[in-house]
Symmetry: C2
Subunit: 538 residues, 2 copies
Amino acid sequence: MSSFLDFKNKFENKISKHDSRKNTNRFADIVGLPDSVKVKKNTIHLAGGTPYETLFPFKKIDVEYRNSPGKLGEKDPSGSETIEKQKSFSIPLYKEHENQSDISTAFQYQYSNGSSELLAKTKKIVEALNMPGYKGWDTVMTSGSSDSMNKTFALLVDDETTVLCEEFTYPNVFHNCSYHGGTPVPLKMHVTDDKTKQGINIEYLKEFLEAFETNYPGKKKKIVLYTICTGHNPTALTESYEKRKQIYELCKNHGVFIIEDDPYGYLQLPKFDKTNPLVNAYDESVTLESFVKDLLVPSYITIDTEGIVLRMETFSKVVSPGLRLGFIVGNSYFIKRLSNISNMTNRNPAGSSQAIVNNLLDTLSTDYKALNPDAKWIDGWLDWCMKIAGTYTKRRNILFKAIYESEAYKKHLFTLLEPSCGMFASIVVNLKPEYIAVIDSKVKGQDKINKIKRAMDYLLCCLLEAGTVVILGYKMTVSKDFSMERATFLRITFAKASSENEFVKGAKGLSDGFETFFNEYMTENERWNLLPTGLEGM
Amino acid sequence: MSSFLDFKNKFENKISKHDSRKNTNRFADIVGLPDSVKVKKNTIHLAGGTPYETLFPFKKIDVEYRNSPGKLGEKDPSGSETIEKQKSFSIPLYKEHENQSDISTAFQYQYSNGSSELLAKTKKIVEALNMPGYKGWDTVMTSGSSDSMNKTFALLVDDETTVLCEEFTYPNVFHNCSYHGGTPVPLKMHVTDDKTKQGINIEYLKEFLEAFETNYPGKKKKIVLYTICTGHNPTALTESYEKRKQIYELCKNHGVFIIEDDPYGYLQLPKFDKTNPLVNAYDESVTLESFVKDLLVPSYITIDTEGIVLRMETFSKVVSPGLRLGFIVGNSYFIKRLSNISNMTNRNPAGSSQAIVNNLLDTLSTDYKALNPDAKWIDGWLDWCMKIAGTYTKRRNILFKAIYESEAYKKHLFTLLEPSCGMFASIVVNLKPEYIAVIDSKVKGQDKINKIKRAMDYLLCCLLEAGTVVILGYKMTVSKDFSMERATFLRITFAKASSENEFVKGAKGLSDGFETFFNEYMTENERWNLLPTGLEGM
């Protein structure tokens, strides 16, 4: 099981009806030519409508880059405050060496799967960090992970498909699933600090899969698992490698495809130390080797022996989101079909973004090698990823320190859930029992849901008045009814603040908002006449 | 009829079932807030997962540009041969003036409809050249015209929709139409030099629309017209303004939406002068004013009073295709829904491309104003478009001169169809009557189709041996059966050659291939044992 044809035979009746309908011929291809036709060498192409490259208004692009992230609070990082001297790399009109992107190629029409030089690099990244457990895998470039999700769903999801996802997830997941006709179904999660347990509730998943035929008689067992298993959004939890192996085994046995969305994987956060809140392991003990071996969690695709996993990576979080650039790893048949979807829809990701990232990666590698002559190509990229992870760790430390020092925390009004990875953290609200006590036993379930929602909405109003904007956990549920009891949390981020002071102010607003909420809620001091169902439209 | 709500009420039951199913809420939006909640000014955002801009590895991007296209045959346009001195514009980390794109915004997450500064420019372009005939229009950025087509089809096409298109067209059109479940239906065309007549056969369209209920009883009259009406691909013909008015009237009366795809519109080619083949009107008489007034043909949207036209423009042909950047103009309700499709799928076009084009447009404008103090903002852009059109005119002249001087042309083996616009031209093969004479009258229609295909395929083999690659016209038909009798042409391009010599060699190959074909075909000298149906799989 390793060739394109093997995978085609195995999977071609498993893809969506929509995708099966797709024509994949390229009209400019010439086929069926007799062998005896002696096509002249160096033919003159009067065929394709590709403008000649000197008609592009660009001659050369220079990118002034940094190989260390800017410091928090640094006002003008291009100014004199920076110690780093100006460094730059180019995108020339014509390439100066083989692996470089140039304008004549990157700004021209190109194949929908992406530029060859960047595709080669994605393969190096996969080989170094997440080698699939089978032969015959491939990669395809996409316009970022939203694009990847839309395409993997277009490939695998139709009106017969059930898409399992974490009960809390990025809302575009279930919207996009429905858009393709599929039925999103939430999986219960363990939202806990326990690293061996956190993430998908395996017992729940097992029962769901085993009882599928009984519970949904007549429904096709055509199931896809969509999971953000590393630095899960919104909870920031990570599925352990042991749990991944169990979940993979279940999926394999029940014919379930796994779509692993991993935008945050490189942003590993070492354990927060309350007694030394500003200690940053990245400044002390983490090395390239330990980063890869001890911190990064191997992908589902490393366990995959069947070609049932599609892994999605992106340059959004570690380089920048505006590039709209990501890639997918999977079996060669699926990758070919995904590239065909691109060919028929939005085509390749922008050549400008591909060229910038391709030449950046080579430059980071060269810089790193200059200091570490024995380094491998990948080390320059990993070094940058580690520096970014270190920066997020620093940001987390500053925010967490401020939160732990706040009045509301000291009064036990909430619990801060430790994020393992990524840029988010969850704050679980310690709602008083009377806030959610059920009175009308006839409508017990709905009554409790409404009560939780109203309390969380009131809290949001308090936080907005106190000047801190957060995301309510229930806004990221596949089904409020299913998950509201576990949705008593807020999502916060440490990605965006520009200075330490902003974090301190954010924590202060958080604390003030919580205090107001606990002082006013369900007392005569309630100031807003919220409906029993909370804010309308939320 | 001008507000979003007017258009929504009018059109919301006309969009595709697929699109109606789309959720358009943004999860981070807070709704239903009581007025009495006093949201603090300068709130601290702990909500969205947007990395801070100094975590991007880019500090500044410099683009060395040209404001005149490179000369044909110029070897290294960045070398000393160019008279033009080096000019560059920047994308700084933080913007230096209001309309400039910067890294902190362009490389960040942004709204799916595109960056505000570039959207503002698309509006200026529309206002200057193709002002819609109603109020309440809007624009949305896309990742190029393939992306635009995919999204306009996603909006308007489902399994009940009939998509009318020119019988010869870009094949992705009918593939994408089928992908969305629609039925592509070819419209007969007049493929002729007569400028008042060329393009869609209006009588045929009229009859089709009037007889729809009779011919397709039970089928919903849900019709979209997809048209490349300016520099049509592959024929390079242009629908006259008079014809556009008649077609619009028909569409309006029959509830047909018009999708106008206009990638080539700026590449207007003045009439070719056989006696002075190298005369280029752009070097002589064309001015900015006459370019706009006499050469550019106004879009369907200028005639539109109802909001039924969606016009698609792209920067692919006039700036560069690798940017994957285009835009759509239409009524504000459709534009909002198109932007929602982006939000759910591939999001905004790459910020890198948007920033490069935005700052390029401003730079071209500034350059032009320096020499022409009274110029409007748009003039710098139009000046560049004119220069590109002039370059294509020069390329056409060189290729046509070589073709008209060729042996095969002098022997009347083919007719060269004059392109009005774009980068393509059609060569109609003067097939001998005996090549396509029908013998078996029982299968007359199919027999003739096969005979034409076999002859064209044999010609292709001859051309490949002679070293010139072309596109056979029938490869770009919606239906071979419907159009084969009018598909006795080749599409050639003058976009890609790097030198005059390449054009001369291309024309020589063309001529040699034709001569071989007419010498061998249906004689004892036929060398390839082609099937009665020609090449298999074509």
